[in-house]
Symmetry: C2
Subunit: 371 residues, 2 copies
């Protein structure tokens, strides 16, 4: 029954309505077109194509015929009509606080989209700046609500805490941000556990004096990472010294321009350093280089983020903690689609980080061992 390609002749429409129908150009075939061409009712065509109660609702030959016609006419169901009828668009809104703008956290988006596709959902992606006014945010949310998305994911580039505005629909989940009102579910990385990972990597390599280059910009991740880091040091019975801790802007210049501990007597300086993020670590590399020092011979370094094009490309490649951004993105979609609201104590999901071992961690300098 292959009567040639695209839009070949079939029985003319019985439909008397629009005279515009020349069918010359590529008007999309409707379900009615299919039904007419197959000689069945629209009801039957619908059922046949959707396989509702397959085999019993519609006879197999009819089903086949409808499907063949649909194929021949290149029928594509109109999900707009379907959505209106079923009161369900297969659609999720993804609002981002710059994640689409900054390469940094884009894997959240990619993973969210992939997970959405797995559930036959499409993603509307909307970028509002970090500095968006409430009015701008509201406009973004409204656009999504008007399109009747089944839920909204509000994603942030950096782990943040947010006082959720009240114009957000019930079915909103925060991604890489925690809603402090507790009204919405939140998915965040487990920064504290990540900090533990970093410290552990250094401790296990034999370091006993470990410094920390902290963030001075007030990221909510900072105290968490620091806590995990310090807990491990304490549990390992290692000392701490205020002179081993520094803080700076969380970027390359922060890492490069911060004076480290090389003014300390050689037997009192840290032999390992944990940096709040990879960019600071990159800056620390640059500073060491200017000092004629080497990683990891003179100083072992652990970063945070496993940032693409940085961590793996540094010389030597950086050992770092990887944020579970992809998993977080996927989880966000699952949460949005998940019917039952989480119990209160499950409102915040913390996804664990992983350690990526590369070449920036080595044993402590031998000369210092005996110091």
């Amino acid at each position: 029954m292959s009567r040639g390609p695209l839009l070949s002749g079939y029985e003319p429409h019985r439909r008397p309505r629009s005279p515009r129908r020349g069918r010359a150009t590529s008007t999309q075939a409707t379900l009615r077109d299919v039904a007419d061409a197959a000689g069945v009712s629209v009801t039957t065509a619908s059922v046949a194509l959707n396989d509702v109660r397959a085999g019993v609702r519609v006879s197999e030959p009819t089903r086949r015929r409808v499907r063949e016609v649909a194929k021949r006419l290149e029928y594509r169901p109109n999900s707009v009509a379907r959505s209106l009828r079923t009161q369900s668009t297969q659609t999720i809104g993804f609002i981002s606080d710059e994640v689409t703008t900054t390469p940094f956290a884009v894997s959240m988006l990619a993973a969210a989209q992939a997970e959405a596709a797995r559930h036959d959902q499409l993603l509307f992606v909307l970028n509002v700046g970090v500095d968006a006014t409430p009015a701008m945010q509201r406009r973004a949310v409204d656009a999504l609500v008007e399109h009747r998305v089944s839920g909204i994911i509000y994603a942030c580039m950096h782990h943040r805490e947010i006082d959720a505005p009240d114009f957000l629909p019930q079915r909103t989940v925060f991604l890489n941000a925690r809603d402090v009102t507790g009204r919405h579910r939140s998915i965040v990385p487990d920064d504290e556990q990540g900090g533990r990972l970093a410290a552990t990597a250094l401790v296990e390599a034999g370091h006993e004096r470990i410094g920390y280059l902290d963030d001075s910009a007030g990221n909510v991740a900072a105290p968490l990472r620091r806590k995990g880091f310090q807990d491990v040091l304490r549990e390992s019975g290692l000392g701490r010294s205020a002179s081993w801790e520094r803080s700076a802007t969380p970027d390359v210049s922060g890492g490069r321009d911060t004076e480290l501990f090389f003014d300390l007597p050689i037997d009192q300086r840290p032999t390992g350093l944990f940096c709040f993020n990879d960019r600071m670590a990159m800056g620390a590399y640059q500073r060491l280089r200017r000092l004629g020092l080497h990683v990891p011979d003179d100083l072992s370094i652990v970063g945070f983020d496993d940032q693409e094009f940085i961590a793996a490309e540094l010389d030597p490649p950086l050992t770092t903690v990887r944020l579970p951004l992809a998993e977080m993105g996927a989880r966000a979609v699952q949460q949005v689609l998940d019917a039952d609201p989480a119990t209160p104590d499950e409102q915040t999901v913390r996804v664990p980080c992983t350690l990526v071992r590369r070449a920036s961690v080595g044993a402590p300098p031998a000369v210092l061992e005996q110091g």
Copy 2:
């Protein structure tokens, strides 16, 4: 007329239909709800809210009343219904060949979304891998077509040439890719002009022997950049030598592991180097460093891409050519929305690159001048 917040009482629905309507929870108000509460017909409510022929179609007092009620009920028009009726979803599909996955070209997406918002359009974002089979691509396109997007943007991470599959709707535009069938419009960066920019920067700094580290991976941008580069050298009356040209994989290792020209006699080596991209330039930095050489004192370097977190963060910061990704993304949306199909010779839009001057270009080493 502020009768309290959300869903406060108004005249009960005359609508006898669904008994499900408890209105207890947050059911979205419909236009009919608004009309009932305002004591007008649905027609009038629609016209009042949409400002059709403002002032003449509906009296000002009526208009105001309807709007007040709409506000009180937190009415949000249902664009699904509107789309079905008007046969126009305000929606564009953005299919990406990994752009959402790789931080690299994400600004195309961000700019496209911003431009779309400017036209009251929402973007469906879909990521298909570079290695997606035709069947997978088709599924992505179908999903978009079923949602009746008004057009599709097919974005590629790297400048490519594509033989457009025939299942793409007419209104598709390629972004960062050229459709070789000529059936669709394409927006690409002007790599040749970018190559000219790079060469010019070096020539103007006084370099007379300029090397090129080319891409060996077959990127379509490579011959274009090389041509622009070489044209400028020729026009400047500078010589060329095969021994000044190398090619390697377009990443950090490619730049780092390629032997440059330091085996040549000092008065015959290039004093400037143009790298196919920033990552190769980053690799070249690393190699020079191992050789104990400095940028730009020993070698001036120009990259390509102005890649975030790399170009500006290198030590010294890299002079490079910036791809007009944001402008390209915005143009793509304009093209999709643009009713009149371009004339054949306008099928491909080439957007110019810009030079970003930083610190990796200096004068040629003095010692070599006299060579």
